[in-house]
């Protein structure tokens, strides 16, 4: 969706501000936000793409003014309500009113193993890749209202296949909980001038990871 998360190329946010000797977390609640998000996700009621979509569907004004972990918490609450794990009334009252619908999936003893293992997103391919390294392709012009990983700035642009990365779970489908629909993923090289016009820095290239359904052959 064309939400506030799709920031590439936007202007007016000012300089990048770094914090010297920045701590990992800036408050106790940020730590809990991270831990809660990861632990609740382990219940398996949603996937990573759906959780990204939950954050992206925040109102743009809200997304742009909330801090990072505030966005996570808003996204987590949304997912918990969507899946019926928590009711709005429970959030309002700050206490559990109904019985649980899922088992706890992440005991403390399993945390190290689960984090070290990660979640594999690569899948066995059911087809051969449609495009080859060095081939010119063009990204589709598309504006889905659902989740996609093709940023706006890179739509309808011509580029060159730089690498075939492998076959992966397709976020556009996975975010809808409509199945993994594995797709080939390519590293796509786009020139700064193709993306931003002839005034752009001629030494700039942007490389995105693009799923096959985002691409068309280009002559």
């Amino acid at each position: 969706m064309n939400g506030a998360q799709d920031l590439g190329g936007m202007m007016g946010f000012g300089p990048v501000v770094r914090e010297p000797n920045e701590p990992v977390f800036h408050a106790e609640w940020e730590k809990r936000a991270l831990g809660l998000t990861l632990a609740a996700a382990a219940c398996g009621r949603w996937n990573i793409d759906r959780s990204r979509y939950a954050r992206e569907t925040l109102h743009p004004a809200s997304y742009l003014t909330k801090s990072y972990y505030e966005i996570w918490i808003a996204g987590l609450e949304k997912l918990l309500m969507q899946t019926g794990m928590v009711r709005a009334e429970e959030l309002r009252r700050g206490q559990a009113l109904e019985t649980a619908i899922a088992e706890p999936a992440l005991p403390a003893s399993a945390v190290a193993g689960v984090l070290a293992k990660g979640s594999p997103y690569s899948r066995e391919a059911g087809s051969t890749p449609r495009f080859a390294v060095g081939q010119p392709v063009r990204t589709k012009v598309m504006n889905p209202t659902t989740h996609t990983r093709l940023p706006r700035y890179a739509r309808g642009k011509g580029g060159i296949i730089d690498q075939v990365r492998g076959c992966f779970v397709f976020p556009d489908s996975n975010a809808e909980s409509a199945g993994e629909d594995p797709q080939w993923c390519y590293s796509l090289r786009l020139s700064g001038r193709e993306l931003w016009g002839m005034e752009a820095d001629p030494t700039l290239f942007v490389i995105i990871d693009a799923f096959e359904p985002y691409l068309l052959p280009d002559e």
Partner: protein
């Protein structure tokens, strides 16, 4: 380069602990029994959420503590720095790293897992500089660099890295020759990138530990350069 020193230095940063003053005593459950008056709305909201999820049995408080401890104390940019130093001293490892980063890193160091399932190294060359961003969210190689800093997740970086990387680099104190090709990798899928910076001059014969101390977090994102050899004398 004065402003490079503003970035997190190798020896500190991820090991630095945030204030623990706000920790409840270990024997005291978190939740509504705490004094609300001193808490901000977001603190209240997160506490309420944790209390609901614990009460319903979806999450274990000790599991949340273990997750926090992992990313606050155990995993950070020192992991990535070790990988970079090894690539500088061991050409065979470097070759394996560039071929299949995740495999080489797992075999050599055992780093991997969440948000690092598909690690790729991007080699800087005298005429090519790589830089990593996630314009759509905050994708970052957790097992190698820990959790991303606030600036990496911020709108200014995510919006500008792809359209004005030289302007961003300038704010980081990095000025590259006009002819250097700049490759900005936008992490739009599940691949996670680590920049392999150029080895600083004057470090011939240095061992991995000494070299790793020159490797900053920012130079592995591509927004910085390693410390020069002279900076290492402490």
């Amino acid at each position: 380069m004065a402003s490079e020193a503003m970035g997190i230095l190798p020896a500190e940063g991820w090991t630095a602990m945030a204030s623990h003053d706000d920790h409840p005593p270990p024997d005291q459950p978190r939740g509504h029994e705490h004094a609300y008056s001193e808490l901000s709305p977001i603190e209240l909201r997160v506490r309420a959420l944790e209390s609901i999820l614990s009460e319903k049995g979806y999450v274990e408080t000790a599991a949340i503590d273990a997750i926090i401890e992992t990313y606050e104390m155990k995993i950070g940019p020192r992991n990535g720095a070790r990988v970079v130093a090894r690539a500088w001293t061991d050409p065979q490892f470097k070759q394996r790293l560039l071929l299949d980063g995740a495999k080489a890193i797992a075999e050599e160091f055992g780093f991997g897992g969440r948000q690092g399932e598909y690690l790729m190294a991007l080699e800087n060359k005298p005429d090519v500089h790589n830089m990593v961003v996630c314009t759509l969210c905050s994708c970052y190689p957790w097992p190698l660099l820990g959790l991303p800093p606030v600036w990496y997740k911020s709108a200014p970086y995510r919006s500008r890295a792809v359209i004005d990387p030289r302007g961003v680099l300038k704010e980081f104190g990095v000025i590259l020759p006009e002819t250097t090709e700049i490759r900005v990798y936008d992490s739009t899928a599940e691949l996670r990138y680590l920049v392999l910076p150029l080895r600083p001059a004057g470090t011939d014969g240095w061992d991995d530990d000494r070299l790793a101390a020159l490797v900053t977090r920012d130079c592995m994102i591509g927004t910085g350069l390693p410390h020069p050899a002279q900076a290492a004398t402490r």
